[in-house]
């Protein structure tokens, strides 16, 4: 174990501990969750155990007690500790490749602002393409509009099938989109690829897509992996992206909010000229240093990565064990629900991580995004079930298909009862002849 200057150790990952966390300890760690709610939407807002919240509070108090001392003596080393741990977790080769930011939304603004400058300054030509998936997160789409389209980039969307049956379906659409982007002698300057799409939720074969990008002469690849750390594998060397971001507050037990942005040193060994859009006196000192000070704020969520690593190491197999059990759990529960409702999963098990899309009975009459949201609200208010619902419009010629999918999640605090509660709620709705049309706006 390494001792750092104030005595707290940085635990090694993967070696099993002698005393593993017990089920009742897990309960206690999440006792602040509303017990009346079947919480199967870990993907939206994540979750944070009590021991890490306590560590965060200590950090907040340290600042309030003596802010000047905190700023001069404690803040920077603490951020450095967090970055160092993240570097190890994601197998980045250089510490300066890791910056800590608030969330993937911020990371997207950083990368896309950089692309906008490239267009403005002529490094990218007007009309050159930037690719993104049709299921890209809403904030990323808006960031593309605000930064890329506005600076003269041509935004190409990759349509994706859903339900999806294999990686090949995704790869095929991606190749077609690349061709579209390269038409008329243009270049594809940047591809923005989700590692795990949000809605509908599917694990994208990013490694293969990035290889194709390299073959096809795409300049840069940015992976929006908001869900990934604690959910899928996040090996920067394996994946091979230029930019990669993931939120630690979703699946890595950190409090709101903290994300990392990985920016690979380019082949010449220098850093991309990324900047945080909120400019402080640290401007020009590299993104990691810029992001570590964007004016006076509460940085405490960025400082508890050591405690998060300690927490996951109380589980059998550490974070790998947690990922595996979450995946097995969500597949098992998803299949249970699909069977109970006579529907199906939105993708095969190998294309999901700790979330899976489960078809909702067609009789519920989910016919629009608005219906999906209203049903979600109804499930929360009337049944105490928290789960996001996705509306999947019928395609040309499709009749009587499933049009609504629930994105269920599985995290260490979940119990089988959570999913039974959801199963029973939907069964009751079906039994009562309920349709979304009944719900008021």
């Amino acid at each position: 174990m390494d001792e750092n200057s104030n005595g707290s150790h940085i635990p090694k990952t993967k070696k099993p501990k002698i005393t593993l966390i017990t089920p009742s300890q897990i309960q206690a760690e999440f006792a602040h969750h509303d017990a009346s709610v079947a919480r199967i939407n870990n993907g939206s807002f994540g979750s944070c155990p009590a021991s890490i919240l306590a560590a965060q509070r200590r950090s907040q108090l340290a600042f309030l007690r003596h802010p000047d001392h905190f700023y001069f003596n404690q803040l920077s080393p603490a951020i450095l500790r967090s970055r160092t741990l993240i570097q190890r977790l994601v197998n980045a080769h250089h510490l300066d490749e890791i910056s800590i930011v608030d969330n993937a939304t911020t990371a997207a603004s950083i990368v896309l602002q950089h692309a906008a400058w490239s267009f403005r300054e002529g490094r990218f030509r007007q009309g050159d393409a930037v690719l993104m998936l049709h299921y890209a997160y809403g904030a990323v789409k808006k960031s593309m509009e605000a930064y890329v389209a506005r600076a003269g980039g041509y935004v190409v969307e990759v349509p994706l099938p859903f339900p999806v049956n294999s990686n090949e379906e995704i790869i095929s659409e991606f190749r077609k989109a690349l061709e579209r982007g390269k038409s008329n002698g243009k270049r594809v300057r940047l591809a923005v690829i989700d590692h795990v799409t949000s809605m509908p939720c599917v694990v994208i074969p990013v490694k293969e897509l990035i290889q194709i990008c390299r073959e096809e002469g795409v300049d840069q690849v940015f992976v929006d992996a908001a869900h990934s750390i604690g959910c899928t594998d996040v090996d920067m060397q394996e994946i091979g992206a230029d930019f990669y971001t993931s939120n630690l507050h979703k699946w890595f037990f950190c409090p709101p909010s903290i994300a990392f942005l990985y920016a690979r040193r380019n082949p010449k060994g220098s850093a991309f000229d990324l900047h945080h859009p909120v400019v402080s006196h640290e401007y020009g000192n590299g993104l990691a240093v810029e992001s570590a000070w964007i004016g006076t704020r509460d940085y405490s969520a960025q400082l508890v990565v050591p405690e998060a690593v300690e927490f996951v190491n109380r589980f059998e197999g550490g974070i790998e064990g947690i990922k595996k059990r979450n995946h097995e759990g969500v597949v098992e529960m998803g299949e249970m629900l699909a069977k109970a409702w006579g529907t199906h999963l939105g993708c095969p098990p190998h294309m999901c991580c700790s979330m899976v899309m489960v078809g909702m009975p067609a009789s519920l009459g989910i016919e629009s995004d608005s219906d999906a949201l209203k049903l979600r609200t109804h499930l929360r208010d009337a049944f105490g079930v928290e789960v996001p619902i996705y509306y999947r419009p019928p395609q040309e010629g499709e009749v009587g298909v499933v049009t609504g999918y629930a994105r269920i999640s599985y995290q260490v605090y979940n119990k089988v009862d959570d999913y039974y509660k959801f199963r029973d709620a939907v069964n009751q709705l079906v039994q009562n002849g309920f349709t979304c049309g009944e719900l008021s706006d």
């Binding site: 994540g46 003596h66 911020t106 400019v279 006196h281």
Partner: protein, 458 residues
């Protein structure tokens, strides 16, 4: 300034805050006793014992009752985040924005956005300049004007957003020590002339309401009037220190953009600031783009991705707090001002030096000259002295180095030229002892014949 808020009209049927005593501000009833001294001490009992905390300007301070309100909001989120996001967050932000709107006399809550801090607001304003220039708005010789002592983050923001598009910057020297508003106005007018050389237009004037270092209250209304007369296109007032320190009436001040941090002098936790925009422009954006892009800055700022928004939600609790004081925030401001002037004068007398500005040009901070014998000869010396005071005397105070200008402005004491100043602050938790400790520590250094360069760096 109005503190009263029409609470009921702005409820919108929103969910009650977790604080059971929650109601937004009313002036205290005659029967209500103002908060007692022991209660004030208790509200700040989390401050490090033994530290003479006279640098409220840098990081502010937050009383326990407001921290408790913040914790309640945080817990609410953690308990059921989806419910919080869909049902609680937006109405609560609207309540805070509405409370601010009333305090600053803005016409409409649409003009008021909540952001993290003035640094963020500067990025918003300057990015907007950058966007306008990309549309061919900037001509060669166009300029941005600011004071030479503008906050470093603002200067860097100009470097990031204005310089690359070819805008040049005119810096206005702040006379210091300053004797009158006229001196500042005169320098500013000279700066404007420079900004308009060769047919250039001054696209943006950045004016501090209260400068940071050295700290002086600027005559913003007057300066903005001059800006309008001289055809300056936009005026951005960096009022980082202002709210809770001086009266802020944005209509009267007349700036296009006005920002102030609530966590410095208005008792909020870190961190929240308001940014007031005079015009309802559809091209002023938060640089962090979310799904809310294009809906107007207040909405964009209210959701910049998943984060802890609790500091933005406690404004009603802050108003409850300040209204426990005699005269509410006005009373607090007056007592802080009187306190800092009194303590500043006490120090000046003891050290035989000068104040950096006349009392009417300061709010709750004042610059006090350090004895010349201390030999503050560089920024490094100033930092050494600051560290020394923290480490050896548990005194937290900013130290400022003012180079000699070789004119009649250079102040003297009996031993030489005064080149160093402390920026002392007065907030409700301060006691007279805090300042006597500073007085004694400096006098001790003099007695020991020490100079700054001989002090060990932290």
């Amino acid at each position: 300034m109005e503190n009263e808020i029409d609470t009921d009209a702005h409820r919108n049927g929103a969910v009650e805050s977790p604080d059971s005593n929650h109601h937004t501000a009313k002036k205290p009833k005659l029967a209500t006793l103002p908060i007692s001294e022991p209660s004030i001490l208790d509200e700040f009992s989390h401050h490090q014992r033994g530290v003479a905390r006279i640098n409220n300007g840098s990081f502010g301070s937050c009383p326990r009752s407001v921290l408790a309100a913040q914790t309640a909001w945080q817990l609410r989120f953690l308990q059921q985040p989806d419910d919080f996001f869909f049902n609680v967050l937006r109405p609560a932000i609207l309540r805070s924005r509405t409370a601010i709107k009333d305090i600053i006399n803005a016409d409409h809550v649409d003009r008021v956005s909540l952001v993290d801090n003035a640094t963020t607001a500067a990025a918003i304003v300057l990015q907007q300049i950058s966007r306008r220039s990309a549309q061919g708005h900037f001509q060669p010789n166009d300029t941005v004007i600011m004071f030479h002592c503008a906050y470093q983050a603002v200067k860097k923001s100009i470097e990031a957003y204005v310089t690359p598009i070819g805008g040049s910057v005119v810096e206005v020297q702040l006379p210091f020590p300053v004797r009158s508003n006229e001196e500042i106005v005169s320098e500013f007018k000279k700066g404007l002339e420079k900004g308009k050389l060769n047919g250039g237009k001054v696209r943006l004037a950045i004016i501090d309401h209260i400068t940071s270092m050295p700290s002086v209250v600027l005559p913003v209304r007057e300066l903005i009037k001059i800006c309008r007369e001289q055809g300056v296109e936009q005026v951005f007032v960096d009022g980082a220190h202002a709210i809770g320190s001086v009266r802020v009436d944005v209509k009267e001040i007349g700036a296009d953009f006005y920002v102030s941090n609530l966590y410095k002098w208005f008792f909020s936790p870190p961190s929240v600031a308001f940014l007031y925009c005079k015009n309802n422009s559809n091209d002023v954006h938060h640089p962090i783009v979310s799904q809310e892009y294009g809906k107007g800055l207040p909405f964009e700022s209210a959701w910049v991705g998943m984060r802890d928004y609790s500091p933005q939600l406690v404004v009603p609790s802050i108003l409850e707090f300040v209204n426990r004081f005699e005269g509410g925030i006005d009373g607090i401001m007056k007592r802080n001002h009187d306190g800092v002037v009194k303590m500043g004068s006490m120090l000046k007398e003891s050290w035989g030096t000068v104040l950096g500005s006349p009392p009417e040009m300061c709010a709750s901070m004042i610059m006090v000259g350090l004895p010349s014998r201390l030999c503050v000869k560089s920024d490094d010396d100033a930092l050494r002295l600051r560290s020394y005071l923290r480490v050896y005397h548990a005194i937290e105070v900013l130290v400022y180095y003012q180079a000699l200008r070789n004119d009649d402005r250079d102040p003297r004491d009996k031993d030489g030229f005064i080149t160093g100043y402390v920026r002392i602050s007065h907030q409700i938790y301060n006691t007279v002892d805090d300042y006597h400790r500073l007085k004694t520590a400096i006098n001790q250094l003099l007695d020991d014949g020490k100079v700054c360069s001989g002090l060990l760096k932290e």
